[in-house]
Symmetry: none
Subunit: 243 residues, 4 copies
Amino acid sequence: MSRKPAKARSGAKRAAGKTGEGPDSRERLLRAAHLEFAAEGLRGARVDVIARRAKINKQLIYYHFGDKDGLYLAVLEHAYSEIRQKEHDLHLADDEPVEAMRKLIGFTFDYDAEHREFVRLLINENILEARFVRKSKLIKQTSSPMLDLLRDTLKRGAAAGEFRGDVDPVQFYISMAALCFFYVGNVHTLSALFERDFNRPELLQERRKHVIDFVLGYLRPEGTTAAKAKRSAGTRSMRALPV
Amino acid sequence: MSRKPAKARSGAKRAAGKTGEGPDSRERLLRAAHLEFAAEGLRGARVDVIARRAKINKQLIYYHFGDKDGLYLAVLEHAYSEIRQKEHDLHLADDEPVEAMRKLIGFTFDYDAEHREFVRLLINENILEARFVRKSKLIKQTSSPMLDLLRDTLKRGAAAGEFRGDVDPVQFYISMAALCFFYVGNVHTLSALFERDFNRPELLQERRKHVIDFVLGYLRPEGTTAAKAKRSAGTRSMRALPV
Amino acid sequence: MSRKPAKARSGAKRAAGKTGEGPDSRERLLRAAHLEFAAEGLRGARVDVIARRAKINKQLIYYHFGDKDGLYLAVLEHAYSEIRQKEHDLHLADDEPVEAMRKLIGFTFDYDAEHREFVRLLINENILEARFVRKSKLIKQTSSPMLDLLRDTLKRGAAAGEFRGDVDPVQFYISMAALCFFYVGNVHTLSALFERDFNRPELLQERRKHVIDFVLGYLRPEGTTAAKAKRSAGTRSMRALPV
Amino acid sequence: MSRKPAKARSGAKRAAGKTGEGPDSRERLLRAAHLEFAAEGLRGARVDVIARRAKINKQLIYYHFGDKDGLYLAVLEHAYSEIRQKEHDLHLADDEPVEAMRKLIGFTFDYDAEHREFVRLLINENILEARFVRKSKLIKQTSSPMLDLLRDTLKRGAAAGEFRGDVDPVQFYISMAALCFFYVGNVHTLSALFERDFNRPELLQERRKHVIDFVLGYLRPEGTTAAKAKRSAGTRSMRALPV
DNA sequence: GATGAATGAGTGTTCATTCAT
DNA sequence: AATGAATGAACACTCATTCAT
């Protein structure tokens, strides 16, 4: 890592994807690096291990990405891109506010639960004080649409008398993300302290339900019964809002 | 060739505290290690750096703690102990439910915000899959009292008609911890994505208020106005529930 | 923290020999390691010293042999291979029994005397309780032919009435090896105790003669005069039977 | 070892033995050191391990023996002394030549077989090029009587027509020692190569018999039948001639 | 694109030895 | 005589990176 600065080749090429190289060594490399960086962190990850896992020669990493940092950034951008792509396919604006919110929370939870390497990657990026996210325009550009969407949903819900009216969208977004993310990210210490395995499917579902319940419980307008907010807490798979 | 890590010394002595040996190198060592492990993780932390910061000879680390892992475990246990000690001094059971809850949330948030190294340590411990927390009886033993206390507070609040009655204490605890912890732990990526500095004092206070609001909003019994739950959101510094 | 030794490279290549890479760093490495291990033992040998002597980068040792143990094993196998190779070129079976035996003893003595590092290596390997010899199939496989040859020679000699008939080949081999090996291996304490330098050429020759005399003296069939066994005790350089 | 030269306390005291200290910490220390040095060699032996095994404080070693080398020398001298003491109690001169020789060989073999740590110590001392034996007057002084005794026995045997007359006592001594010592010292590689466990009691006895047979076979005067030399090859426990 | 060999700067750990009491 | 704490100098091994082809 940053022992001697080298110039990364890629750039435009990186975005362009495969240029007809072997089967797809670049893809394999990114995948292997993603797993290794998630599991070990930037510093902990070993270039040799990544190369071995991707079944490529170590030098190729330097050829493609300049250095370890370059590879890490590529992995991070790739991971964000993937999510944004999936988000693009969702149409939350078409749903009613409560239903949209339910979907949003459920999807966020599910995505975190099913993509622990991604959660790990974000945790690691915070340990690095977001050094790479800050560097990447690509990543930052894609976060505003989701906030706009959330703001709109909250507004529609408040107008319909289904949500309370004093909700700050940014704080709300952070809270919702927190309720999902924290559980997945801290599952090991939680499991150790409470002496149960929070990764068991039943407990995951229990948590999922609780999170939806928790968020909708907060969103209730003053004087509203919670009962209404309770039906069909299990709707799944829509859209994730990564941190 | 394999080298076998030796066993660490002390134990009883460790708990007994300083024996009057001047500037107390052992204390300095733990403090320096805490900071280094929090900043760099177990693997990333450098034994040399810790020794230099503690102004002791590197070998002394091995003399006192056996190896790097031993030092890490000691730091972890020390960190948990410190909090438990502080908890012991608080008397949440003496307060009314709503007030107690307010204090609890406020303190949790404040503790996380003021002890980022501790938050980091826990994040890192999760990256290690809680390998060390699981190993430590000391740490696990001290988690149950706090859960009992929380359970009791929720029960009292529900009985008084101030809290909803269907709250699972464990899930609730995790959620409350999440709302505080996540903000501190992920402040860098959040700041980068939303392009503002979430560490600024005003934003910290705004978050603090939001978290209390969010939790109490959820706790409202059905049909209750949120207004009541809003007064005096600023009570500070009581008790933290670390993960 | 535990570090796991990596696996060594090559294998086939190792046997294949140099690939034309100039001064052949691998060869130099083995030679340097042989000397260092012989002089200092496995534990006492210093990787840095070996690297310096071989004029290569220390890391290369790990690249080629995995770890210090791997290098030691390679040296051991290389040393045995060399001898076996030399043995292959000798044709003891073509000689008359007494002459063959004389050659065999002389060569064993000479080889030990001229390859003290090899003697040292074996001594060291015994200190290690033959941990590496036991591990190596290569080494074990090549020991049986020489035993067969010895058995055959003894049989031929007995049939011709030149050797006694009750000789156990294994015990005999050990005894012959002992008479040569011990002198070389313990030359320093022997020299100190008897206050003379047993490494002086005349003393070496005296010993050589004595050993041949001793063995042939034992081999005499009952009732035979020793005189016959005495002629031409000086034949040299044929075949060594290392331990 | 020789990192900073320190002055050993002992000297006269060392020879004088205990001066009324604890139970016998000095004895325990020597015994523990003997085992550790035999097993690991001078360099390989660990001062901490010795201290732990002897159940004394590490510093005491430095108090008593100055440094590691001093302790090693003390162990070596102690080991030699012990044997000389035992030798003193034997009265080989009283036996008939053949019987005396038989006893001598048997005892040498038995002593080596039963005191492998001593064998190891000597091997190690040779690796050190007899640096310490050479330094020690005590050790050298005690080797001549045994050579005189051997010379006398050979002379008596030759005069009686029971031994050949051309035997060099020094070479003979070395050969006899070799036949015993080598087997014990190289038992591990021998066992590995011949794929049997040469430490098994039956094989030890077989070897013992062979060695006596071998030596007496050599000693036969010209024209003598071996049969005579064969009776009662099993007499035991008399006197050892260490190297 | 792709590869094997090579390298310098660490990195955790060990060890004999000394200090202060 | 005895002890716990402290230290400097190694030491085996690792890792990101570059060279030559």
